[in-house]
Symmetry: C2
Subunit: 139 residues, 2 copies
């Protein structure tokens, strides 16, 4: 059965479908609030027990043992020509991984940083909501 | 000559290259601040005289004659396997297009909404900054 959001005419994906897509992709975009403004940037990521992990440079505002920020994370697969596609959005709080045992474990995860810089800090987003939409082709 | 950001080892694209990529793509992601939190969503867009135009549903917080919001807009082309790619980010203020002549003109632009809903409201982001990065393959 398909669940359709009649306001947007998009098919609503259930959480399981969203987590499946999150687990099978590697590139997304993170949005944070900085100085009252939204700021968006692409990241490589990996899923870890239902959370989103990505790496960031030392010295950025995101890193720090006591820092935590609301984050919105998005992945999508949209065909610019056929106008078909899907998107998954994760909203939650992101915190740097600082506990030594936890850090050792995540450093062994298969995550290449998106850029070749010194991205030694790991940020974990714990989802509060996971939502997904798929464009349906209807008459 | 290539300009390299030595903090990230990414190649910095100049504004002309960024505008070229913005002009040749159709799908991006917008981030806004809502209730103090970041919120990200995919949009189809079209460039119009150096500004970003996208459509939104009536009744969303973005529409309204007197509404204006800081927005961060991103497009990218990243190969998940080769780890090569680029991204362009536009930061600026988004406002709904409400002036009748201007609205008539933008409604004639080639912009299909990303989803099939009733997206009769047009939002224009006037860039304050346009930045782009490309992953360089170095030794």
């Amino acid at each position: 059965m398909r669940l359709i959001d009649h306001r947007t005419d998009l098919e609503v994906m259930d959480r399981r479908a969203c987590l499946g897509l999150l687990g099978s992709h590697r590139v997304g975009r993170v949005a944070v609030v900085s100085g009252g403004r939204p700021l968006i940037f692409p990241v490589n990521y990996v899923m870890d027990d239902g959370t989103v992990l990505f790496r960031t440079d030392p010295g950025t505002k995101l890193s720090g043992a006591h820092s935590q920020y609301y984050m919105s994370f998005e992945i999508d697969g949209i065909d610019e020509h056929s106008h078909e596609g899907w998107s998954v959005v994760v909203n939650g709080v992101g915190r740097e991984v600082v506990e030594p045992n936890e850090l050792a474990r995540v450093q062994a995860l298969p995550l290449m940083p998106w850029s070749p810089g010194d991205k030694q800090h790991w940020i974990r987003i714990r989802p509060e909501t996971v939502t997904g939409r798929r464009i349906t082709r209807r008459g």
